[in-house]
């Protein structure tokens, strides 16, 4: 039963992190290139645009859910399983989600990178 809780927790952490990353990435694309905005309008335009973007707040809320579910998951399972499993699955999940929701061209090069990094993170924590 403990396994079910641990893996359930890992799944919730992963989903919340992926949703948070996707929403933040979408929000920042809607805001526009910070470097160009800074040059043209100054820093307060960037701050104003970020703080008036609903996706930004939804993303931060989702990240917060992810953070607190990580704390719960850590209380159910070992840190050496929960942290790397959630981080690795988030890398892979982001690959699929970015392709579907952000229309990023996740080519073979990026998939190899995501799998290498995900495996590497899992090995580092092992």
């Amino acid at each position: 039963m403990r396994h079910v809780y641990t893996w359930g927790g890992i799944l919730v952490v992963t989903c919340a992190s992926v949703v948070g990353d996707i929403l933040l990435a979408r929000a920042m694309k809607q805001v526009g290139d910070f470097h160009q905005l800074w040059r043209q309008f100054g820093v307060w335009t960037i701050v104003g645009r970020v703080l008036s973007n609903p996706n930004f707040f939804l993303g931060v809320a989702s990240m917060t859910v992810g953070f607190f579910s990580l704390l719960f998951a850590l209380s159910w399972g070992d840190v050496s399983l929960v942290a790397p499993a959630a981080a690795s699955l988030t890398f892979i999940g982001n690959g699929f989600a970015a392709r579907i929701f952000l229309h990023e061209k996740v080519d073979r090069r990026r998939w190899i990178a995501a799998v290498l990094v995900a495996t590497g993170v899992a090995l580092l924590a092992g």
């Binding site: 990435a25 990026r110 090995l123």
Partner: protein
Amino acid sequence: MTFRKYLVLAGVTVFAAAGDSMLSYGMKQTGQISLHHLGGVVAAVLNPWIALGIVLLLAFFASYMNALSWADLTYVLPATSLGYVLLALIARFVLHEQVSPLRWLGIAMISGGVGFVAGGPALTSHKHHHTDQAVESGQSMASGSGA
């Protein structure tokens, strides 16, 4: 990719690794926090290492937002995962912790992954980037036909 953009990616990596290290160091000084003694949270935030860690993590968040404004999520995430490598190297050479062969393999795989993604384009899906390009090419065509 400009030098400034590489600096932002380096900022995401370094601020995250440094922030996490400071938080971890500070939390070892303050001890465990429980829900029954929430005063411990205040004491933790007042610890200079934890306060510095929080400032660094805010800097990480600002750089992360900056990077996402001009690069794909699937580019930023692997490119900045060098932070894990940085943490392992700090553990080995600064804190003199033992790093097992499996961990070295992990470091090699992350570095390889970063190399793979860094060789490709940073942006593949920017809608107004494409429209900007279309406008630019439209203008150049118009000016070309005008000339």
